[in-house]
Amino acid sequence: MTYIPISPKERDEMLKIIGVGTLDELFDAVPKKHRFPKLNLPQALSEMEALALLGELAAGNENVREHMISFLGAGAYNHYIPAVVDHILRRGEFYTAYTPYQPEISQGTLQSIFEYQSLMANLTGMEVSNASHYDGATAAAEAVSLAHAQFRGKRKKIVMSPTVNPQYRAVIRTYTQGMGLEEAGDDPTADLEAGPEFLTQFIDDNTSLVIVQYPDFFGRIYDYAKLIDAAHAKGALVCVVANPTALIMLKTPGEMGADIVVGDAQPFGIPLWYGGPYLGFFTTKKSFVHKMAGRLVGETVDARGQRAYVLTLTAREQHIKRERATSNICTNQGLLALASAVYMSVLGKSGLQEVAELCYQKAHYAAAELSKIDGFGLCFSEPFFHEFVLCCPKPAGEVNQHLLENGIIGGYDLGEDYPALKDHLLIAVTEMNSREEIDTLLEALKEVSHD
């Protein structure tokens, strides 16, 4: 079926006013040889049939709520989403609106983005936030572009910790391939226990940006203040890739002196959805706002003296600056920025604190119990938040296979990204994991240890 609300009679009247005989005549400009190809697509379905088909496809999946216990994180996290969030997202006034280019009839979107910016800036301890990016990885890549533009392309080096999410590092490499940059520090075979200050040796007068993750990819919490001071001493900027749930509890990167704080706000009210769409957040200091890519909402007044909001500093963007723009970015993740703003608002200060504490407590219970099993142990001794590295008595892939047979999705197999960590699993625990689930994991791993 289609959604075309024009009757054959109306169509004929319209054709007559246009002055052509048939619909096909509207396409005379299209080369005849290629006009009206026959597309080999399945027969059209009714709504009822389509729902059944999608249901069948979905049945080919097992999910981490109803079918399996999961301890996967590594950049995407299974959190509870209060019912309010989707109720608001399902309002047609929000999800069927366009980018708020006409502020007189878009204040709903504009004010909610302004509030999102405010919530994010408060969470990260920074002065400003943009209206969002595609995801955490692309937000990190945009941080590189900001630093590159800030030094007008004169500083040609970025320093990246090997404990930044490997996918984020991959995206940064893709984005920067035309920029002629030198990348240092990004060596997965480096000593992974060296602590953040080991990056200092790579930072020099040619460095535009230093990128670290907080907590790092292995879940470890470091205070980056010293590293940031060292970077600033060389004139370089520092970008911290942060997990928003961890920021509820931990010292903010802003307090440590970070120049840019980015990350993925998927944990804040956005479902796992097999990897997307997610929500890249980007916060920084006010002095960098002109170099920041992406949309930005600012407060103003309308002609009637009412407080209102508009997209501002738009002359930075591609549609005006064209090839001189810092980024080609056009959309933000508007609806998902709304989701995360609703999530933060409806949990509020106390609910958010409860989420963070539950994640912390359950992860620590799991870590303590798992490390007691023969042959297993915690790989690192640093404080962690809700993710930790478990070293196993055999290759992580084999351990995961055993767990899968028991209805458990184990952790992320670190061997693919870090050659030295072949027998290591990155385990994530959130408020969604009950003690019973953790104990089930425990029992299953004991079997591995006895094999």
């Binding site: 002109h290 500093l313 002359a315 930075r316």
Partner: protein, 125 residues
């Protein structure tokens, strides 16, 4: 439209003061851009600029523009305060709105005031 007669003007709307070596944006250009909210000088003191080199980037509420040097020579001074007060470019384009000063400036293809005024009038129609 104001175009002081002691200055020279480029086709891309920059002015050059042969006596001081100062370079800036013309009154006509600032009024076309309207409310300027951001300016960034793209060259440093001591650098050498060619005629036509981009020396500044300007953004208004609705438009953006690059400013090209109408003169060649060594940059002896940069108006550092301008980025704090970009609206100066609107209010005082030939005074406090100067951008850089160039030493030993040889100019490119520039016009006298009268010719420039005529050139601007042609474009408004």
């Amino acid at each position: 439209m104001n175009a002081p007669s002691n200055l020279k003007y480029s086709k891309s709307d920059e002015w050059f003061d042969p006596s001081s070596g100062a370079v800036g944006l013309s009154d006509y250009a600032q009024s076309q851009l309207s409310d300027i909210v951001f300016v960034e000088i793209l060259v440093d003191e001591g650098e050498t600029v060619e005629v036509g080199k981009a020396i500044a980037s300007v953004e208004s509420v609705k438009a953006s523009a690059e400013i090209f040097s109408p003169a060649a020579g060594k940059v002896i001074s940069v108006n550092k305060g301008l980025s704090e007060k970009p609206e100066t470019l609107n209010s005082d384009p030939y005074g406090a709105g100067w951008m850089i000063k160039v030493e030993g400036g040889t100019t490119g293809d520039v016009m006298e005031s009268a010719a420039y005024v005529k050139y601007c009038e042609e474009r408004t129609h």
